[in-house]
Symmetry: C2
């Protein structure tokens, strides 16, 4: 599949965009007119740079408000178009996007519009240029791709074809199936954009909220299958107007975009499997990845080993051993939960979640798939005879490792810690319930696509949690079985109120147990610093749920929080935060499938108070 990206998707200068697109692995780009207009590079220099970078210049765009106008304005439009055709000859690009008229359309007559497109096409042909006519979702008279196609058919000129844009079609909920009836040679170009389903005017939605395929709610795979069935064989190009992408690092966005096309290609190839259709796009499938069966390990990196291991012991973990060749790496275990503590960092470095190990059926296939999805491999050394662990960096910098699932449930790498004999009997904690990861806000969509495409997790509906420094967006990524659940949290971008935001927003590991009271009592005996829960919370809990007084008292005694829904109950407590990491211990009763979201504001407020108090203490000291 030939991949392309419109320069408007990317931040920076035209030259920076081109370098980034080439580095990510795109085959070509669409040149967005304004990017060229503001550039000091001549069209010839851009052509030369594209050649050096191995990029084709697939489209020049946009040409607006050409059609459905009176004769005088149309004459001016022809003149305007001719200047652009000359420019395109200098650039060496042969396809121009012509948008259905939004601003100046006066004549709602398909014959007139077709006649004008034909005349424009005749002029274009003299310069070897093709016109791809596109129905904008908010076009004055033409806002529907089938209507645009009827006009293209009426124009009946070899230089006049259609451009299909998934956003303009799916945002209006037009049925994309009729794409299959369009003659392939008349589809001059295809642009792709996904988007979250939002109830707002379509122009604002389009201009600010498009995302890469796989990051939104549209059926992009279905859209692609129609194109293949139509016999389309041209470039598949991303055209995303997104406020965050416009600010984000250009190289990261380009990688994110290419990943979205590789993922979409793979999904489309699979969707078409068994169907007797000629694959005109040359779709490549990626190695299949099964969803992870669970967490193999969590690695915490810390320059404060003592307080970290004390916390683990308070939660019931036992020291499982020290790594045979890696100094400063120790293993803490409880039941099937394994936490690697790595203090191979300068003393005092803040405690953080450095790596997650996921149990997958075929680690080699998983790493192959991930790297073909443009994920950056983690460099890692092994001693002789040691297990080879392979992983990639997630968008937030966390290392994601793919670990095989051994038949006996005990990973081979445990031997490297001399931890081959495990007893699960005394463990109150019996698993990892979920892991909350903080995401930089510019890379939220990228993170969703990363976990979707690399680990086959699915995005659940997101929600906003109010905190003292702003709203925190919470987006759960989940494997179909539920064995892996990762709420992604996006903290306020640039809060002024309090220091508890952005990079300081803490991440946490939630541990599953079947008796949270026992786990909390053990933790208390061992001196755990619980995150305090206010009295007002328990009074409100009682008002909301009509609970037994003794039960509420037992919750309060141990700083336990409580939630209930139609399916069951959720009891949990939080520890204080070390660096950017804290722990949660949860017990689920019945079929409760949530994460105690109503209690998140209590946690945020308590963490904020501590953060403010620490800040004051530092300031006064």
């Amino acid at each position: 599949m030939r991949t392309s990206i419109a320069t408007v998707c990317l931040s920076g200068t035209l030259e920076e965009k081109m370098h980034a697109a080439a580095a990510a692995g795109f085959d070509g780009i669409e040149v967005f007119e304004q990017d060229l207009v503001v550039s000091p590079s001549s069209p010839e220099e851009i052509r030369e740079l594209a050649a050096q970078l191995g990029l084709s210049l697939d489209l020049y765009q946009p040409f607006r408000d050409a059609d459905a106008v009176g004769p005088e304005l149309f004459a001016a439009n022809l003149r305007r178009a001719e200047a652009k055709f000359q420019l395109m000859n200098r650039l060496g690009t042969d396809t121009m996007l012509v948008c259905s008229n939004v601003g100046t359309a006066e004549i709602d007559d398909d014959e007139v519009v077709a006649g004008q497109l034909r005349e424009l096409g005749e002029l274009a042909a003299r310069y070897g240029v093709r016109l791809a006519y596109e129905a904008l979702a908010w076009g004055r008279f033409v806002d529907d791709f089938e209507h645009a196609q009827r006009i293209v058919d009426l124009a009946d000129h070899p230089s006049v074809g259609t451009c299909l844009d998934s956003f303009h079609i799916l945002s209006r909920a037009w049925d994309p199936a009729p794409i299959e009836g369009i003659a392939a040679e008349k589809i001059f170009f295809v642009q792709l954009a996904d988007a979250p389903l939002l109830s707002m005017d379509v122009l604002s939605w389009s201009r600010h909220h498009r995302v890469f395929p796989g990051e939104g709610d549209f059926d992009m795979v279905g859209f692609m299958t129609h194109l293949v069935r139509a016999g389309y064989d041209g470039p598949v190009s991303l055209e995303i107007f997104n406020d965050a992408f416009r600010q984000a690092d250009v190289n990261r966005t380009a990688v994110d975009g290419l990943r979205s096309l590789r993922w979409l290609e793979d999904q489309t190839r699979r969707a078409l499997d068994g169907e007797p259709v000629r694959d005109t796009l040359g779709l490549q499938a990626l190695p299949a990845v099964e969803e992870p069966a669970g967490y193999d390990f969590v690695e915490i990196r810390t320059g404060r080993l003592g307080e970290t291991t004390r916390l683990l012991h308070q939660l019931g973990f036992a020291l499982g051993g020290h790594h045979q060749s890696k100094e400063n790496v120790q293993l803490w275990v409880q039941g099937p939960v394994r936490i690697v503590v790595n203090d191979d960092v300068p003393d005092g470095s803040p405690t953080e979640i450095a790596a997650l190990g996921f149990e997958v059926a075929d680690p080699d296939a998983a790493i192959d798939r991930a790297t073909r999805l443009a994920a950056l491999p983690v460099p890692r050394s092994q001693g002789p005879g040691e297990q080879v662990l392979r992983g990639v960096f997630a968008p937030d910098g966390t290392e994601v490792f793919f670990c095989g699932r051994p038949a006996d449930g005990v990973p081979a790498w445990l031997g490297e810690f001399g931890a081959d004999e495990e007893s699960h009997d005394a463990a109150l904690v019996t698993g990892v319930d979920h892991i909350n990861m903080a995401q930089p806000w510019q890379h939220y969509d990228e993170a969703v696509l990363f976990y979707t495409s690399v680990l086959a997790l699915a995005a659940q509906p997101s929600q906003d949690v109010p905190g003292p420094s702003g709203l925190v967006r919470s987006q759960v990524m989940r494997s179909a079985s539920g064995a892996v659940r990762m709420p992604l949290n996006v903290a306020p971008a640039a809060a002024e109120q309090g220091s508890f935001v952005g990079a300081a927003y803490p991440e946490h590991v939630a541990l599953y147990c079947t008796d949270v009271f026992a786990a909390a009592r053990r933790a208390r005996r061992r001196g755990l610093d619980f995150l305090p829960v206010p009295q007002n919370y328990y009074e409100d809990l009682d008002a909301r749920f009509d609970l037994d007084d003794e039960f509420v008292a037992s919750l309060q005694e141990l700083n336990l929080l409580y939630d209930r829904d139609a399916d069951g109950e959720f009891l949990h407590f939080y520890t204080g935060t070390l660096g950017t990491v804290f722990f949660e211990v949860v017990e689920r009763r019945g079929g409760y499938a949530g994460f105690g979201a109503p209690n998140a504001p209590v946690r945020l407020a308590a963490q904020y108070r501590r953060s403010q108090a620490e800040h004051r203490a530092r300031t006064e000291a």
Copy 2:
């Protein structure tokens, strides 16, 4: 007018919110339940703190989904409500907001709903509590204040009244005039929120985009006049759900909120002038302020005096003198344009726009009005016999001075620079056309209200300008006469691409002249560092406007940009940037009233390229 604010408008802890509300000068607050639930302070402690701070606790909110339910759920709701009544007794607050049911409503029968409100009211009365029933704009069966009022009338209980919220009424475009027909003693509470007109679902609009009165598009003054005519005499309270306010510094937001009420009070008082209505709210008018007649001076602060004065000279300014008592303060003049250059800062400090002087009819009234609008006065010293200049800080920290307009057009303070004799004859620059100020994104709405309320400028429709580091929001504030025009620019909050964002986003002074070619030629002779304009721009200009080749060549020779609309033409050039300041020189032909917005991306791209090149140079050095 008794002023109040819901704690949900403010960031931080409940205690921080209360301190901020009191410091800003509010009379009371609404306690948002969740703020109390997450607080370690008991209701009694909050009551005590409120008393210490002189704040009344005007409302406890919200109580949701009480009505229109079956008997079993209603019984549970009564129990839930009673717990809250008890809590309110401890808090010492006597009014509870009851929202029309959104989530659990089953019975669409006004008699049933009224009966349930009556029963709830009967229970409330036992605790001395009043219920203010509010129609949410997205209520299941009750979404209209007149419907809510009919139910309140049906309930016919002294403890059951109504709460009127401007957002819920105006967002649905309900006619607010029938408010005047509601019995005053039945209006238990009034909440105010303004909002920009957005085409999105009303729930998202309400939860994320409310703003303080005067910062949006609703007719808040009209709304208030209906309340006065109804005879309402209770608190007027702000209830704003806004993503930016949730992150912003709590004290600033509180001041912004109080300013909005003082402004609204003044506007309402004026709107009612001459009307024979009993002013039950006790509305206070502020000193009137006429819109400014123009700019008296611009003050630039710089630690790089040489490059600053060189630039001014290149633009045609002449040294007008040095201040008689303030060392390091000099005056540069050209025609009626006066630029004060203050280098009383450490050597090398970046160049910035420090202050703006506005010509107003009555400076004393203006400063009185501004300080009563909670603007912070600028401390400033005068020597004996020197003019007293008084000003306040704008939200971005710029000093705003109010200067009288002398009869002969020459400000008295010029004498302090020994600059009593001015010749305007040689000046090519004949005025300040506009001044672009960068705004921190969290304080954009605050800035709009500041300039609206303090200087009687009006917000024009805003637009987004694409730049290499993200979209820049541009919002013109303008006096009715057009003599003062200030585009406010909000740069991307946290861009990763390039350093040209946030605090580094430059501001500029646009100078008006009648012959921009002559001004540009003089500047070139004097060696001005023009912001370069690419060749591609001129080719595109030609394609768009069909200009005379010679004219385009003359533009290009001098790095001039061009725009045209139905009313006239706009020619302009930009200088390079010193610190965060650059200059623009503009010529307007015909009735062109814009700011060359189509050329802004050219400027942003050129400034970005320079910023990137400087960054590279620094990094390599």
